[in-house]
């Protein structure tokens, strides 16, 4: 029975990976990756890692993939197909074309695969050909949430804390990178205006307060719109 599930999950994982690499439309690539992650979670379950499998489904296939879908919907998946010819033509004068570059990339990946298989399967480890360490089901046994939690709060406490800081830094970095940026203020002829008050840091060139619509720049803009509600319509809103 476990062999049936292994082959189902293994074929699903490899097919999902091939789909991510081959499919043209980024949206379908994301869907293929979701299928790949779900098959991988099944493989983790077969390896008795229940907690990691649950995290894989909830965090990876759930949260992270939703983020990807949102960005694909926002950026709009542009088809790469029509540009293959253009790249090939651009490179025809000097060096290899796009197709032969692709073939070289495939050769590199095949060499990497063979090397990895030699390294992983050709080791002298005898335990590779076994089913793994002896396993007895129980409430606190290998792979359960209690087991992982105990490890994280005793032996790997520092790792746990460092990971939490890393997540915090990444969240702040994501907000800073993707925030809304206003340009400098412009006069009637479209040239940017700097007043002496702006010299330390020109208003509207990006703080997090301004990103969410607060700060001195937005307040001045609101005041200007209240004083001259019709004149404010000329400003392009970004």
């Amino acid at each position: 029975m476990s062999q049936l599930f292994f082959f189902l999950a293994g074929i699903g994982a490899i097919a999902g990976a091939v789909g991510v690499v081959v499919l043209r439309d980024p949206f379908f690539a994301v869907l293929a990756l979701v299928g790949h992650l779900l098959s991988l979670a099944l493989l983790f379950l077969l390896l008795r890692s229940e907690f990691v499998a649950a995290v894989q489904v909830v965090v990876y296939a759930g949260a992270v993939m939703v983020l990807y879908v949102f960005v694909v919907a926002y950026v709009g998946g542009r088809d790469e197909g029509d540009r293959v010819v253009a790249l090939g033509e651009r490179m025809r004068g000097r060096g290899p074309t796009g197709a032969s570059l692709r073939a070289i990339a495939g050769l590199l990946a095949a060499a990497l695969l063979i090397e990895l298989l030699i390294a992983l399967l050709g080791t002298g480890l005898k335990a590779i050909d076994t089913q793994g360490a002896p396993y007895a089901p129980g409430p606190r046994t290998f792979g359960t949430p209690a087991y992982i939690g105990q490890l994280f709060l005793t032996r790997f406490l520092l790792v746990f804390e460092v990971a939490s800081f890393l997540l915090l830094i990444a969240a702040v970095g994501g907000v800073v990178l993707a925030r809304r940026r206003h340009g400098l203020e412009e006069d009637t002829e479209g040239r940017p205006v700097l007043t002496p008050l702006d010299l330390p840091r020109p208003a509207g060139t990006g703080t997090m307060v301004e990103g969410v619509g607060g700060g001195a720049y937005a307040a001045r803009e609101r005041r200007a719109e209240q004083q001259a509600p019709l004149a404010g319509a000329g400003r392009p809103s970004s």
């Binding site: 292994f6 991510v20 983020l67 926002y74 990339a105 792979g143 990178l177």
Partner: protein
């Protein structure tokens, strides 16, 4: 199934991801292929953890997932910033940093 089968699948998934990183030009898909590579490494970590009956590999796999989430956050933020500045979303066009 023996551990070797799982290791073979992890090697195949890792090299497929590497091929995708080299071949694809949309930075979104390059990030997806990076996820593939991380997941291939995760599968081998979990398999080795099962082989030894020791939880350290699972802890490392969870940390890899955390790092992957951070990488997605920053990478997607950069893609959104590139798109907002109306630069082409294509790793062949964005070659200004090339030495």
């Amino acid at each position: 199934m023996t551990i070797a089968w799982y290791l073979a699948i992890s090697a195949i998934v890792f090299s497929l991801g590497a091929a995708g990183v080299i071949v694809r030009r949309n930075p979104l898909v390059v990030l997806l292929c990076l996820e593939l590579m991380l997941n291939g490494a995760n599968l081998s970590l979990i398999a080795f953890s099962r082989m030894w009956g020791n939880g350290d590999g699972q802890i490392l796999a969870l940390v890899v997932m955390t790092v992957a989430a951070c990488e997605v956050c920053i990478g997607l933020g950069m893609i959104v910033a590139i798109y907002r500045r109306q630069l082409p979303v294509d790793v062949d066009e964005l070659r200004d940093l090339q030495g």
